[in-house]
Symmetry: C2
Subunit: 291 residues, 2 copies
DNA sequence: TTGACATAGATGCACATCGCATATATGCTC
DNA sequence: GAGCATATATGCGATGTGCATCTATGTCAA
């Protein structure tokens, strides 16, 4: 993540719009929210005589609260590329385009719980590694209303990702590639299984790019790879995962030495079968339980 | 950050409470918010005849939106410790305890803009390095209502931090130390300038701990240190900053070699004055402008 | 004026790691 | 059983780090 800000408070100014009429709650004194008096006051203080007039004058922003959603970048590594699951949108905005699995945060559920629930609803996946990624909250990232989305990333092995997309309607598997875009604003480019570029909704290309950069960074100091592999795997399997995530080839020998020395993996004693060459030993991650 | 989740969706269940009666918006079909129809429907669909009855039955959660706030962990390194600025709370909850500068996100401002605005309001600081840290959204982290806080961290040089706290009422400078707490839940312990432990409000000890871990991690691969130093500094100054952030001593020679080889700093040609030993050369960060 | 002192800054060396090359091992296919 | 493809082990030079040593240079005290 290379997002840093060093601005003056005067930059708060924003273009006039319908929302500018919204009441804003001052935060002097306490810096914490009270019960949402704004919504209440508006309703009780101004009795509604004409429902149509009320609806016309109704301003969602009067409640002074962004919507809070979660989006999940589900990633897996195979065929030399990172892949994700996208949901085809049936309704505007961005109808026909593809979005990350996402949805509202319920009032009583935590953020990771919401992310896992949403992921289960869209993909059927139940036990997946998931971490918070970054929160996207630009005022106009959703054309309808202010939406703050707490993005997460999740990792699964390839078979589970592909099954999830096949079993669920409106979902597709897409390859993800970071495009070294102009003026340093890296985006993610996604393609379906036939190589056709897909068009992403909202700022989801940015979210995906952030997810890819995050797991690249984590790979260096965290044994993240085992979330992307089945229980048993060869060292070459693991290396291919690392190479796919990092997007560059790695030296085989030093990769092997480093992994064996790391203490993160242990030999199972078993070997590959059914390969037309010397079978490699199968390894397993030591701390698979300690997710 | 070592927060990962691998749960079943069935874990969503939560204790019964007043909020459980709140309507929850289903997200089937589209995974994006529409205009907040819940708030509207509640008012228009169930005409209110008795205002007192309405208020009694009024449920803030019916609007189905958490409040969104920003909190800022402002950090600086001096006297061998990391320090931050805290605001003394005058009102409940947590009256008398200390909190990070924080406040609501306005409907038209971005998250970093909100964080910078809040920081300016509480400390008077205007141009500071600031990045998003992590979003804290446990359902009961605020005893009054659901509050999702997008925490940020900010870095300044020591003089600016101390001036900010001196110039603003209800603010104090506090040292921050990570306590290797039991069962791996690391917390931050804060003390005032006299060494007296301060009690933090909400989950702000966790936020501070997350901020410290974040800059420790970033220090290894990012020239973050220059945000914590004045324009010109000696290599020993820089090393002391690194040691304070990391919480451990560093080898002087290899630190020197590594910094000079990194290309991040350049000599100014000037030297220290007024020290009772051989004066060291003053350096400057190459990319200071590229915040 | 001069020498003690404290830190700056440079150099040399042992050690670990990495990239690269080479050599050997082993199961499969024909 | 030969050939093949990959696994696995070993050796070597380049590089970075920790540690020790040596020299440089300003201030301070006599």
């Amino acid at each position: 993540m290379h997002i840093a800000y060093m601005l003056c408070a005067s930059k708060v100014a924003s273009p006039r719009s319908r929302r500018d009429r919204a009441r804003t709650r001052e935060t002097s004194g306490t810096n914490r929210p009270l019960a949402p008096s704004v919504g209440r006051k508006r309703v009780s203080g101004a009795p509604v005589t004409d429902e149509r007039a009320f609806l016309a004058s109704y301003d969602p922003a009067a409640f002074d609260r962004p919507s809070v959603t979660v989006d999940v970048a589900l990633l897996s590594a195979f065929d030399g590329s990172l892949h994700t699951v996208l949901v085809r949108r049936r309704e505007p905005p961005f109808a026909g385009r593809y979005a990350l699995p996402g949805g509202f945060v319920k009032m009583e559920e935590s953020l990771p719980t919401a992310a896992l629930r949403v992921l289960t609803q869209k993909t059927g996946l139940r036990r997946v590694f998931l971490e918070q990624l970054y929160t996207f909250g630009e005022p106009n990232r959703d054309p309808r209303t202010r939406v703050v989305s707490v993005a997460h990333y999740a990792l699964v092995e390839p078979a589970r990702l592909q099954k999830a997309a096949k079993d669920n309607p409106d979902t597709v598997v897409a390859s993800v590639e970071l495009t070294p875009a102009s003026d340093s604003v890296e985006r993610a480019a996604v393609r379906d299984s036939e190589g056709t570029p897909l068009s992403l909704a909202f700022d989801h290309a940015e979210i995906l790019a952030t997810a890819v950069r995050r797991i690249r960074g984590k790979l260096d100091y965290t044994p993240i790879g085992f979330q992307l592999l089945p229980d048993r795997f060869t060292l070459l399997d693991l290396q291919r995962v690392h190479e796919t995530v990092l997007g560059r080839p790695l030296n085989k020998d030093s990769f092997r030495r480093r992994m064996l020395a790391s203490g993160e993996i242990e030999p199972t004693g078993e070997s590959q079968t059914g390969v037309d060459h010397r079978p490699a030993e199968l390894f397993r991650f030591v701390r698979r339980s300690a997710v």
